[in-house]
């Protein structure tokens, strides 16, 4: 056990140490890449559903370290971001080696069966970040991390009703943006 454990890294990251965050990402990355690859192989429509799997990955990672609920939330939030990067990279790679636009969709199981074009979702999120970074994070945690309102409240320090309300706003903004894409994004 020469490596610092996850709880330690988390504590350091929250204290502002970017190295610690990077170490956490490195730890999450292989597991999340494996999840993404498995989903992509299994799903002939190239649709990805992530939520529960990320949860599993994080739980696997943190189980031995005995993290608190808030810590778990932070790990999930971080995993959400990592997952987003992996998926978007993947979608870009797919697009670039095919002449025809080949869509990779994200299916969220957070609610119903919404399906999103990953690249479009990603660029909408970049726009949302400019408008309201917190909303963009919320989408990331919910759609890419499959986090519950409870988890998000724990990570962000917002009350659950506020998370719910902000979530409605974020989702509305996103759907509107996806339906009215900016050309040549």
């Amino acid at each position: 056990m020469s490596d610092p454990n996850t709880a330690q890294l988390l504590a350091e990251w929250r204290g502002g140490a970017l190295d610690a965050r990077n170490a956490l990402i490195a730890r999450l990355h292989p597991e999340l890449t494996a999840i993404a690859a498995a989903r992509l192989r299994a799903d002939r429509n190239s649709s990805l559903s992530t939520g529960d799997l990320i949860n599993e990955a994080v739980i696997k990672l943190v189980a031995t370290d005995g993290l608190s609920l808030a810590d778990r939330g932070h790990m999930l939030a971080l995993a959400s971001r990592v997952m987003r990067n992996i998926l978007v990279d993947h979608a870009r790679a797919r697009n670039s080696d095919k002449r025809r636009h080949h869509k990779v969709e994200l299916t969220t199981e957070v609610e119903g069966n919404l399906r999103f074009d990953l690249i479009a979702l990603d660029s909408a999120l970049l726009r949302l970040k400019v408008v309201d970074a917190q909303l963009a994070e919320l989408v990331e945690m919910r759609y890419f991390g499959g986090m519950t309102v409870e988890d998000i409240a724990a990570v962000t320090g917002m009350s659950e009703p506020t998370v719910k309300r902000r979530w409605v706003v974020a989702r509305s903004w996103l759907l509107d943006a996806l339906n009215n894409p900016i050309e040549n994004d």
Partner: protein, 804 residues
């Protein structure tokens, strides 16, 4: 194009709305966004997206549980559930009573989801919907309410995939995708012909069977008009909340105002559908133009019918020129040409708006749906009329330019319907106003000089006078702004007909004055955006008259007044496309007038401004023919004005821009003579430009080419003056180049053609004014006078030499 600052405000407001949960969210929002329409629209868009998400996810925010379905409904036994959504569930059902057995789909809507209005409407329309039989429409068999009050619909069971899913799964080619769109268009056009509007065409309502047949589902019942889901309260009767039930991205913007859906609404959605399905090709300029026209914010700017949209899609697929409007030129066009030739040749223009109010078809006919419940007779009549004008007439206009008998037949049929309406002893004011507006629209199609017309000026006048009588009676009972606006429209068209057709200056002056008086009648408090637009349009037509009559002082004053008037508009209207267009026209007329009174130094910047404005607008709505025309004229005249004050170098780009615009116009309106003629006019200016910069060989070559193509285009009906005109210019260029032989040959030929035309009484006064100068030069040729001593072609006549 969203502005982050605005978005932030909208987000905050939307959040506050969710938190406050006011009893009347619309009123709350109106209050909070008073005077800030953009902000309100933005918040409404978010609300609308929220509701769509709620529907799509089965009501995640408020799980309404599905009651178990009854075992049977009518003759159908209900089987397995094949779908579920926010609205309710869809079940397979088998008909096992009666003579035959078949499978259907039954959609059971959750109680309370459909507004009373929609349920009512459905009850009324069920018969019509059930009769809507088309291979591309999933047929509705029946509908009703279950014992617990849930509305249900029994329809044809479609075993297929939603459009986008289908395209993905078969990796559909472009041709296949277009084919599906065309099938969907056929279905919608058929429904429109029966006055049924789908209301909510989205990819999920367009199914494709394994055989590749499109089936549109949910006709006329597509969406609830209000939902009992927090945070939004049940809509007040007829409230604008119904708009929130639309699918974002596919619903037309006018529905945000709570307007009833029309055929134009469906055209918008089909345009969005095309954009989505053909997204690999959306950068193609022609496809982009088709989609842009289908999805214009203003319903009247969209395609007049689904068939027209489909026609353009087909043309694009077959790589034929995409041509939305290709009707032949009206009789008035010769005059335009003559006048523009004057402009470009002498750099002095009296110019016309040649341009179309390519007005879409009128709103009056769309109102037919609304009329149904009110009055059976009225409905039947308007319905016939609507079918006719919206579909047949537009189609024929598109397909048969120059086919006189077909066009006459069309107008006659439209006339029949309107006559029925006018003759009915009905005293309903709305019906009479609608009839008057129908007659006005028909008259514009028949003979408005400023749009592609049928050349039926007499009929147009008769209909306008009849409309005027109807409006006069209504006015006697009581006045209204609608009456005044309709009257001003009649006067403007009659005024234009008087100038262009009848050469009757007095009548035209009188008509425009009456049009103005009608607008003046509307009380200050009732002067809304429509009134302002009508006023600006009337002024534009007045400027056209002044330009035609060469009343330059008045024209300059009118242009100033028009600009001041536009300045007085409310902020949002001032920034609108209409205001920008009217302003560009004002600049154009002002520049044109100044150029004619030889104030080129002032004219050039005005024409340049106008040209640039038209060009900017055209970049926003590519291939808009009206704008292309105006880029052409303002560019050509601007160049001519600049050339006369020696600014050839800095104005040459105007000429090139005009040339480019008109070439595109000629390609788009490939069957439109007027575009061809305009192109020749501009090419002629270009040849003269080459001569001006001293490149005589190129100038001569260009002009010779124009003469050649026009000779090739001649037939037994040609008067020959066009060729003569071009030869006359060729002679002028040759004289400048000291090519005596070419100058004399060209002028001699031109004179022969002009003389011939005069003998056949086909030489216009404008062309005739060159005869004496032309004769004098041909005489000098015969006498052997050196080329340097030739005289001007047009000898000043006493009237024109007066100082303005």
């Amino acid at each position: 194009m969203t502005d982050p600052e605005l978005d932030r405000e909208a987000i905050t407001l939307f959040e506050e709305l969710l938190e406050t949960d006011p009893a009347d969210p619309d009123a709350w929002l109106n209050e909070r966004t008073a005077g800030r329409d953009t902000l309100r629209a933005r918040v409404q868009a978010l609300r609308s997206a929220d509701l769509a998400a709620t529907l799509a996810t089965g009501g995640a925010l408020n799980h309404v549980t599905d009651a178990p379905p009854p075992e049977r409904l009518g003759a159908y036994r209900i089987g397995e559930r094949i779908g579920a959504g926010g609205m309710g569930s869809v079940y397979l059902a088998t008909r096992d009573r009666g003579d035959f057995e078949h499978t259907a789909a039954i959609k059971i809507i959750k109680p309370g989801l459909l507004s009373e209005r929609l349920v009512d409407r459905f009850r009324r329309e069920r018969q019509i919907l059930a009769q809507l039989r088309h291979p591309n429409i999933a047929q509705l068999f029946d509908g009703g309410e279950t014992d617990d009050g849930s509305p249900y619909f029994i329809m044809e069971y479609v075993d297929g995939l939603p459009l986008l899913r289908w395209a993905e799964s078969v990796e559909a080619s472009r041709e296949q995708r277009i084919d599906m769109l065309l099938q969907a268009c056929a279905a919608v056009a058929f429904a429109h012909a029966n006055l049924i509007v789908h209301r909510d065409i989205t990819p999920s309502n367009v199914m494709v069977t394994p055989e590749g047949v499109v089936k549109l589902i949910d006709f006329g019942i597509a969406r609830p008009t209000g939902l009992n889901l927090p945070p939004i309260n049940p809509p007040s009767e007829g409230g604008s909340l119904q708009t929130l039930s639309l699918t974002p991205g596919y619903a037309a913007p006018e529905r945000m105002t709570g307007a009833e859906p029309t055929t134009a609404t469906d055209i918008f959605s089909l345009g969005k559908l095309a954009a989505r399905l053909l997204e690999d090709d959306v950068n193609n300029p022609e496809l982009a133009a088709i989609i842009a026209r289908a999805t214009r914010p203003n319903p009247e700017d969209r395609y007049g019918s689904v068939d027209r949209f489909a026609q353009d899609l087909r043309a694009w697929r077959d790589q034929r020129p995409v041509s939305s409007f290709s009707g032949g030129p009206g009789y008035a066009f010769r005059k335009f040409v003559a006048r523009h030739k004057k402009t470009t040749f002498f750099s002095s223009a009296a110019v016309v708006l040649l341009i179309a109010a390519f007005a879409g078809t009128t709103v009056a006919y769309f109102a037919a749906e609304r009329a149904r419940a009110e009055e059976a007779q009225r409905f039947q009549d308007v319905r016939n009329l609507a079918n006719y004008l919206l579909f047949d007439l537009n189609d024929q206009l598109r397909k048969v330019p120059g086919n006189t008998s077909a066009r006459a037949d069309l107008a006659a049929r439209a006339q029949t319907y309107l006559d029925t309406l006018a003759a009915s002893k009905n005293t309903n004011r709305d019906l009479r106003l609608e009839t008057a507006n129908g007659l006005i629209r028909l008259a514009e199609i028949q003979g408005s000089p400023v749009e592609r017309n049928l050349g039926l000026g007499t009929d147009a006048k008769t209909n306008l006078v009849r409309a005027e009588a109807i409006l006069g009676d209504l006015h006697k009972e009581s006045d209204s702004p609608q009456i005044a606006l309709a009257e001003s429209r009649i006067d403007a068209t009659l005024g234009l007909i008087a100038i262009y057709r009848d050469n009757d200056a007095e009548t035209s002056l009188d008509r425009f004055a009456r049009g103005q008086a009608a607008l003046d009648r509307v009380a200050d408090g009732q002067r809304d955006a429509k009134w302002r637009q009508a006023q600006a349009e009337l002024t534009r037509n007045v400027m056209d008259r002044q330009s035609y009559n060469e009343e330059y002082d008045d024209l300059l004053a009118a242009a100033d007044a028009q600009e001041a008037f536009l300045d007085s508009w409310p902020d949002d209207e001032r920034a609108s496309q209409i205001a920008r267009l009217e302003r560009a026209y004002a600049w154009y007329y002002r520049g044109s007038a100044q150029s004619l009174i030889e104030r080129e130094a002032e004219a050039y910047p005005e024409l340049r401004k106008a040209h640039d404005a038209f060009k900017t607008m055209e970049a926003e709505t590519p291939n808009d023919t009206q704008l292309l025309y105006m880029i052409g004229w303002s560019g050509a005249e601007g160049y001519a004005a600049a050339a006369r004050i020696g600014k050839v170098d800095e104005s040459a780009d105007l000429l090139f821009s005009a040339r480019d615009a008109v070439k595109r116009l000629a390609a788009i309106e490939d069957r439109d003579e007027s575009a061809k003629i305009m192109l020749i006019t501009i090419e002629e200016t270009y040849a003269q430009h080459l001569a001006d910069i001293g490149d005589y060989p190129a100038a001569i070559e260009a002009q010779k080419h124009l003469v050649d193509i026009q000779i090739a285009d001649m037939d037994e009906t040609s008067a020959g003056t066009d060729v003569g005109w071009s030869e006359m210019i060729l002679g002028g260029i040759a004289a400048s180049a000291q090519d005596r032989k070419l100058a004399c040959d060209s002028w001699t030929s031109a004179l022969t053609r002009f003389n011939q035309a005069q003998a056949n009484e086909r030489l216009s006064a404008f062309h005739a004014s060159f005869l004496s100068g032309l004769r004098a030069n041909v005489e000098r040729c015969r006498r052997g006078v050196p080329v340097t001593e030739f005289g001007p072609l047009r000898l000043p006549d006493p009237e024109e030499s007066e100082d303005p």
